[in-house]
């Protein structure tokens, strides 16, 4: 019985079907299944399958994103039950994401967010045009392990440095890894501002983030 349910859960992720994933999560809660088991033996199996097909060149980015969204929906549905049981999912780390102040470009940053959360990071996405002070405050609030900063303009890219300098000033820099991205971001820039990592796309960002937390 459970086995069939797990298979359906995995399939809902493979299909990128958020509605089905939520319904299956609800079903598992009402049948008394351990939510952590539902995640690890059901939904995550689907995420891994999509990841494998992607790596093999058989699945494409929209399928990855849809699987990520379905996964997020399933986990959100299971969260109240996890809280009730006092169980917690082991996450790879907490990441605060933002597009820097003065910049409204969203898509790359949001893609990174989806990929990171599908890969087991807890993501706090602050949106676009986010002032440095707000980013730092969030880092403190959630006790973040990592900050991801996006910028599409050479004129706003300087804010990535500002955040790093501020983290340094406040004595947080040693504890918080910083990853940066955006079309104008180059390796030279990353070295200049002493960020910990960067990627030219969202898939690569996951590998960089995992590397930084030693996963």
């Amino acid at each position: 019985m459970s086995n069939e349910l797990f298979q359906k859960m995995a399939q809902s992720i493979i299909d990128g079907d958020s509605d089905a994933a939520v319904a299956l999560a609800e079903q598992s809660v009402s049948s008394g299944l351990d939510p952590l088991q539902a995640i690890s033996e059901g939904f995550v199996v689907g995420v891994n399958k999509v990841g494998e097909s992607f790596a093999a060149g058989q699945a494409f980015l929209p399928e990855l994103v849809m699987a990520g969204e379905a996964m997020k929906a399933a986990v959100a549905t299971l969260e109240p039950e996890m809280k009730k049981r006092g169980s917690e999912r082991i996450m790879l780390g907490k990441v605060v994401l933002a597009t820097v102040e003065g910049d409204i470009h969203e898509i790359g940053k949001s893609l990174v967010g989806t990929m990171l959360s599908a890969s087991g990071f807890q993501v706090f996405d602050l949106g676009v045009d986010v002032p440095t002070a707000k980013i730092i405050a969030k880092v403190r609030e959630v006790d973040a392990d990592m900050v991801g900063l996006s910028a599409l303009l050479t004129t706003t890219m300087v804010k990535q440095k500002e955040v790093i300098d501020e983290l340094d000033k406040q004595g947080l820099r040693k504890k918080v890894k910083v990853i940066v991205g955006g079309a104008p971001v180059t390796r030279d820039w990353v070295q200049k501002i002493e960020a910990d990592g960067y990627s030219e796309d969202a898939i690569g960002a996951v590998a960089v983030a995992k590397g930084l937390v030693g996963a």
């Binding site: 494409f60 980015l61 929209p62 050479t154």
Partner: protein, 483 residues
């Protein structure tokens, strides 16, 4: 010595990429999007203009929803033709539907150094050097800011960039890197200094402004306010959509055309509502995101189709088009660069897009290559030749000469040949040498193109900007830096 400017004009080739019915369907879908879904205008000034003209405005979410008649009436105020003025009036560019002009590409962040070939971060001197070389070419008709002057302060960087271009070229400057009201205000002052007052900019717009939209269905607040300032004084202004299939647009081309069209015509309508008759242009560089990594591709069959389809839309609204062609995704001047830049530019040219952007950048408009710049110029020259088509008349049929030569002779030593031989295209960068000669040197187009650029840089003396004007521009920038 002012350089002659090559353009495509009186073309013989034609392409119907969209039928009138299809254009109408895209237009209707666009109006429906603007009315029902809305477009984001994150600027209080812009929202108030919309509200004053009867659009439905959500001030909290910055969303504007406008009835079709409001948009259509506003678009009717767009002037269908006007010139882009140059410092040298002999290099003015008529945007009249019968000319295709090429500019440099823009907003690069790195440069392959012209001497060492090393890739490095772009700076102000690069902007000046590229402008000087562009000034020397016959193909580049106007400038974009080719690379970002990253050694200058972000708040006034755009001003240093246009000053450097004006100091190194007499051709028209279109900036795509000024997107704040305060910077636009200073840029207008600089342009006014050249033509002798703000009141003369409408007649002699030596500067034009291009603003990127924020797809899907949005604009940037600073861009909108900069565009409104420019439109007020008659500086030609355009909104560019870079909507990309799969990410910022639907996977389908028609849907992405509609999304981008909604951004551009809503932005354009705003300018016409605020300043009726303001010179505007349509700008676009749609693409398809890469299926695997979502990246901006800068080439591929979708780009080629967008390149041809967009001019049909801008023609439908009777406004000139600035179209993204060239701008290959290739990492170095290679097979992909040649293929993408040739096809994108051909497709955008065959429908007579008024402005093409632009020559010189690799890796999706990120890395400047002088060799690519020169080879892109040759691509344009080849397409220009192709667009002339085949002329069939008594002279070109050459029956008398054919009769005189007869079977088995040759046409080399004929007066008719002498009269027409210079119509045959002579490439600079195609290798037609004997094999042995190639084998002894093993050089190719990239070497010759780079050598040509180096030669232009060291030998070309652009007509200098009066020192008085340079000083005035420096003063304007210094004042802007204080604010």
């Amino acid at each position: 010595m002012a350089t002659v400017i090559k353009s495509i004009t009186n073309p013989k080739l034609r392409l119907e990429i969209l039928t009138p019915q299809e254009v109408k369907r895209i237009h209707d879908a666009t109006l429906q999007i603007i009315e029902k879904v809305g477009v984001r205008f994150p600027s209080k000034k812009a929202l108030e203009i919309w509200a004053a003209n009867g659009a439905k405005v959500d001030f909290e979410k910055n969303i504007v929803r406008a009835k079709p008649h409001l948009i259509e009436a506003a678009l009717k105020k767009c002037p269908p033709a006007y010139p882009l003025a140059a410092r040298d009036p002999g290099q003015d560019l008529p945007l009249d539907g019968n000319h295709v002009f090429v500019g440099t590409d823009g907003c690069g962040v790195e440069v392959l150094d012209i001497q060492t070939g090393q890739r490095r971060t772009s700076c102000l001197q690069d902007v000046a050097d590229i402008a000087r070389i562009a000034d020397a070419t016959e193909e580049v008709a106007f400038h974009w800011v080719p690379v970002s002057a990253q050694d200058q302060p972000p708040a006034t960087r755009g001003l240093h960039e246009i000053k450097a271009i004006w100091e190194n070229s007499t051709k028209h400057v279109q900036t795509e890197s000024i997107y704040h009201a305060r910077e636009a205000e200073a840029a207008i002052e600089m342009a006014a200094a050249i033509v002798g007052g703000r009141g003369k900019l409408r007649q002699r717009p030596v500067l034009s402004l291009m603003q990127c939209s924020a797809p899907p269905l949005g604009h940037d607040g600073g861009s909108l306010e900069a565009a409104l300032l420019a439109a007020e004084v008659g500086i030609p202004t355009g909104f560019m959509t870079m909507a990309a299939c799969l990410t910022t647009g639907p996977a389908t081309l028609a849907g992405t055309l509609a999304v981008g069209n909604a951004e551009v015509i809503a932005g354009t309508a705003l300018l016409e509502l605020a300043y009726p008759g303001a010179p505007v242009f349509y700008a676009a560089a749609q693409t398809a995101s890469d299926l695997r990594n979502g990246a901006y591709t800068g080439g591929g069959p979708e780009d080629f189709l967008f390149g041809a389809a967009t001019n049909v839309l801008s023609d439908f609204y009777h406004i000139p088009l600035s179209m993204g062609s060239f701008a290959t995704g290739a990492k170095e001047p290679n097979w992909q660069a040649g293929l993408e830049n040739s096809l994108s530019t051909f497709m955008a040219s065959i429908v007579m897009s008024d402005m093409l952007l632009g020559v010189g950048l690799l890796h999706g408009s990120r890395i400047w290559s002088y060799a690519q710049m020169m080879m892109d110029c040759e691509i344009f020259s080849i397409i220009r030749k192709v667009m002339e088509g085949i002329v069939v008349d008594e002279e070109t049929l050459a029956l008398d000469t054919i009769t005189a030569v007869g079977p088995g002779g040759n046409f080399l030593a004929r007066k008719h040949t002498l009269a027409h031989m210079r119509e045959v295209f002579l490439p600079e960068f195609m290798d037609r040498r004997p094999y042995n000669e190639w084998e002894s040197k093993k050089d190719d187009a990239r070497d010759w193109a780079l050598a040509k650029a180096r030669n232009f840089l060291s030998a070309h003396q652009p007509e200098p900007l009066e020192p008085k004007l340079s000083a005035e521009m420096a003063r304007i920038i210094a004042a802007a830096e204080k604010n």
